[in-house]
């Protein structure tokens, strides 16, 4: 029986999808994150089934200015089916994070214009680290956080993430100079992210303190698995995370692609001034 791909909500239950992905939360973390509010509100979830059983899941996340494509890793046939369905909805450019194996399947659907290696790291034994001078960023301070990330073009940030979990920050003369937070939090796994220090204040332990704050907060919430991604060449950041108790888990390829001929090929060249 051929693999069928449907949108979530078209005869596929979200809970069933979560249960299937949660069998392996470490490898399915991005897809799990997209299935929880508020990220699910800006995601298109596609589910592959074979004889009624779920065999794969894909997500087209629209919370970034360039859409992000994530698919489950196991089976090239399933991956092809998912990508064929999803490709009809893709604009000319899209980003993805995948294993080396999946990367070859993804290459059939887009020409890679940029790539780098990312490391997934997992928190094993947390190493006690002072959180001060970092502290939890309050709701009324959201605008400062949003402005800080936007000014410094922190790429994997969308304001929706603030709704999902803790963000910690360090201030200097009333200005936010370091922030760390999450990409998403689910009952199975949380992803630390958006860790950024103003260039003038690096090397002073602020990012370590803010990340420790987020890490402790997530553990206090009862989250069992805490993960993060870091650019493999970013040795200073990797050292920070190792000092906090994170251990390298696996390598992934981040790629920025331009759609091939089978995809929609529209280009956007202007901003609507009235919106």
């Amino acid at each position: 029986m051929p693999v069928l791909v449907k949108s979530l909500g078209v005869g596929v239950d979200r809970e069933a999808c979560i249960r299937w992905l949660a069998r392996d939360p470490i490898h399915h973390l991005m897809l799990l994150g997209d299935l929880y509010p508020p990220l699910i509100s800006v995601s298109e979830i596609y589910v592959a089934t074979d004889e009624g059983q779920i065999v794969g899941v894909g997500s087209l996340f629209r919370g970034f200015s360039t859409p992000s494509v994530i698919i489950t890793e196991d089976n090239p046939t399933v991956q092809n089916a998912l990508l064929t369905k999803m490709s009809r909805r893709l604009e000319s450019e899209w980003i993805t994070l995948s294993t080396c194996t999946s990367s070859s399947v993804l290459c059939q659907f887009g020409n890679r214009i940029y790539s780098h290696i990312e490391l997934q790291m997992l928190l094993h034994e947390p190493i006690p680290t002072p959180v001060k001078p970092a502290r939890l960023i309050q709701r009324e301070e959201f605008n400062s956080l949003n402005q800080f990330y936007n000014e410094h073009r922190v790429e994997a940030w969308t304001p929706l993430m603030f709704e999902m979990g803790p963000f910690y920050g360090v201030w200097h003369d009333g200005q936010l100079i370091t922030a760390a937070g999450i990409h998403f939090v689910t009952p199975f796994i949380a992803q630390i992210g958006n860790v950024f220090s103003h260039p003038r204040f690096r090397g002073q332990g602020y990012a370590t303190a803010a990340t420790a704050g987020v890490m402790n907060h997530l553990r206090g919430m009862g989250i069992q698995i805490i993960s993060l991604f870091v650019v493999a060449e970013n040795a200073p950041a990797i050292r920070i995370y190792e000092r906090l108790g994170f251990v390298k888990e696996r390598e992934l390829i981040f790629a920025h692609n331009v759609s091939t001929g089978s995809l929609r090929n529209e280009t956007f060249s202007a901003v609507n001034p009235n919106h």
């Binding site: 509100s41 995601s43 087209l60 970034f64 200015s65 909805r89 604009e91 929706l160 956007f268």
Partner: protein, 180 residues
Amino acid sequence: MKPSVQSILITESQIEKRVHELGKQISKDYDKSDLVLICVLKGAILFFADLIRTLAVPARYEFVQLASYHNDTKSSGVQMIQGLYQDLFRADVLIVEDIVDTGMTLDFLLNHIESFEPTSVKVCSLLDKPDRREVPVTIDYLGFKIPNSFVVGYGLDFAQHYRNLPYIGVLDGDSVALGS
């Protein structure tokens, strides 16, 4: 200096009359439908609020917010700031926009909504600025076709100002060009 409103393009009473006409037509067309109206924030908020009060058919409501990005490369994207929570499968979706000009954000939204496999997707827009169109889109219910001027009021803004004006006004062109 904040630019001034040079002239009134569409008066409050013209808007009110047209909104009622649109509401009547939509009510007729969507009788016995599972209608979901999607308000595109922030600009459509006043039009949406007035329109739904003229409808004689039951409907569900959703709110989305989109941002357009323009960069140095040929391509730029649309980002969803606030998205959809309701299941649109087999629903009759009506997108309510304040204005359609390039068609770029509307095309993005239509594409996204189609992924939920609704029965139908139509567009209701208060204003249409066809001279600026870059992506072809169909407007099923249109309030007014307007020339290529910078308009504000009744939800439309300039730097987040003027949304509260009860009419559609044209901003002073020189001021807008100078970004004042």
